[in-house]
């Protein structure tokens, strides 16, 4: 690429980055303003009034939105609007991870019905879902414990976020007049929906900012042929997802590295574990931008819990690998067990909302 076209490309990316971040912040403020008056509806009618029900709500939301990031961002706005407590925000963000990869299952099912693949267990999508769901059995309680611990940090936690609050007060000063104008013309429900749509759009816009990574020339091209050490694959997953901020995009980046579009199971499992840690970078950034101390605590606890869980799993990695392999076989090869699994994916969040 010539120097001029390189400059043009980077200028375009910077412009897109600024535009997407600005739109993202604006969208978060819209959701916050739209959600506040809807608190009784969300808490009473939708029964999102506890961490467990918020978990179910985030889970369902991510499945419907086919992505976890917009729902996680919305959770921050709801927390800032006073609709959700910090613990409920944590629950909702955790729920988005459980429902985020549902899209791959859906696509896999469509292919199975069309006869284009015999076994869903041979795809990375189902594996990614199972790895996330099994690690979260430990992540959720661990993160909740960390959140309690950090919340008791009290004044120290608050003091350390003062700088971020200054930034958010500047942002509020700039955006409040615009949002006030919108609020006079649109009902709160519509503002909430528009805000959600803007979040989704801004995240899509940000995807275009990510430079094309020439991974072919790196050792990553060996992921489909050779076995990497689990801790190496975790680090790779973390590093790539720091840039992409999405587990599915991180996995998609690896596709061109293999002519046949394959990856070894032993590499995919820790890669997804690593990706699950840094996939929250965008949510963390969002919490910083809107000056949400509670949001920062919730997301930070989640990331730390996911990281600690990955370290713990590394101690027994061979056993965990075998466990996932058995789950994969059980779930993906038999239409009946697959049906049971999909039913559970839908049933459990509803149960959490109803019973939570």
């Amino acid at each position: 690429m010539s120097r001029i076209s390189l400059w043009v490309d980077w200028t375009r990316r910077i412009f897109l980055a600024v535009a997407s971040v600005s739109l993202f912040i604006f969208a978060l403020m819209l959701v916050k303003n739209g959600a506040a008056p809807m608190a009784p509806f969300i808490r009473n009618k939708l029964s999102v009034d506890s961490p467990a029900s918020a978990l179910g709500f985030g889970w369902l939301g991510a499945m419907l939105a086919l992505s976890g990031s917009p729902i996680a961002a919305a959770a921050l706005s709801l927390q800032e609007a006073g609709v959700l407590s910090v613990e409920e925000t944590y629950g909702m963000i955790a729920g988005t991870r459980l429902g985020a990869s549902f899209i791959v299952l859906l696509i896999g099912l469509i292919y199975m019905r069309r006869g284009k693949s015999r076994h869903l267990s041979l795809g990375v999508g189902l594996l990614s879902l199972l790895v996330t769901q099994t690690t979260y059995i430990l992540v959720i309680p661990l993160g909740a414990g960390l959140l309690t611990l950090f919340s008791r940090g009290g004044n120290n936690a608050q003091a350390s976020i003062k700088g971020i609050e200054k930034t958010s007060s500047v942002i509020n000063m700039l955006l409040d007049p615009v949002i006030n104008i919108i609020s006079t013309y649109l009902p709160e429900g519509i503002i909430l929906i528009v805000g959600m749509v803007c979040i989704v759009f801004s995240l899509r816009l940000f995807d275009k900012v990510i430079p094309e990574l020439d991974l072919q020339r790196t050792q990553l091209s060996l992921l489909h042929r050779l076995l990497f050490r689990p801790w190496v694959a975790i680090l790779i997953g973390m590093a790539i997802t720091t840039l992409t901020m999405s587990v599915s995009v991180s996995l998609a980046l690896l596709v061109p590295l293999s002519v046949r579009g394959y990856i070894r199971r032993e590499n995919a499992i820790p890669y997804v574990m690593g990706a699950n840690i840094t996939t929250f970078i965008d949510t963390l950034a969002a919490a910083s931008l809107i000056g949400s101390a509670g949001g920062l605590l919730a997301v930070g606890s989640q990331m730390l819990a996911t990281f600690i869980t990955a370290l713990l799993i590394l101690l027994f990695f061979r056993h965990y690998e075998r466990f996932i392999e058995r789950l994969l076989e059980l779930t993906g090869e038999n239409k009946f067990t697959l049906g049971v699994y999909i039913s559970l994916i839908f049933l459990v969040p509803f149960l959490l909302i109803w019973l939570g």
């Binding site: 990375v124 594996l127 050792q219 489909h224 076995l227 596709v255 293999s258 101690l315």
Partner: protein, 286 residues
Amino acid sequence: MNQPINPIHILFYIDPSQASLSAAAFLRLFTFPPGSHCTLLGVTHTGQANARLTSQFDRITAALSDEFILHKEIAGGDPFAVITRYAQKQQFDLVALGDPPGTYGSPFYPWFLHSQQLSERLASSPVKPLLISRATKPRLNNILFGSSGEEPARRTLEIGAKLLSNTGARVFILHVMSQLAFENSRFSDDLYYNAEAAIKSSSREGVHLSKAIEILTQAGIKSQAVPRLRHGLVLDEMMAEIKEQQIDLLVIGSHHQPGQRRLLSLMLEDVTHDLVSEVQCSVLVI
């Protein structure tokens, strides 16, 4: 290490245990070329032979004297350091030792609580080819070559075949395909193939298996090598194959291959060490 032509020179580590006697009986099954040498190496704290080691030397000498021209060495210190020093000082075509039962197998407890046995330490060192005998009864009916499908596998096949060419054992060549498809649109029949189908369709794995059989044949393996292709986790599938085919000897490549960059060695899983730690059969690491 020399590629063995004939005759060969073996360094055989001896301790007073039954494992060393079993290893000697196992070595006899290899039918090495006439005129081959075997250095019996015993290691003690003091560097002097004790009664147990002396009688072990006598027993093993009686077992191997008609197969090899024997030499005896006693050294003091850590067995791993001594073996490594000897292997570096002199060109041996094979280093052999016996592994006592109970020192290998798949533990539940985490890897960092597992103390490394001599065989595991040697498997991760440059001492190669390395024969780890775990044969409680001397038997060499079935040999399994494990192959990654990569270029270093060629060297493993060639050297392994030359060492085992006169055994008359049944030979299997196994490749484990643990790949998954990234996208459902990428599913291809090669994810389901057995060895015969892979060879017939000339898939990547099929071509590799065909070439491996050719290499084994050219290197001197007389029996027709049986290609095997399994799908699943590499370690588990290899262990399942060993159990299914009642394998007496597993032949695998070393983690550290000549010319391999250090960074790559650090990044890649040491499958050889994992297998040496877990399998119940004897292992030949090339």
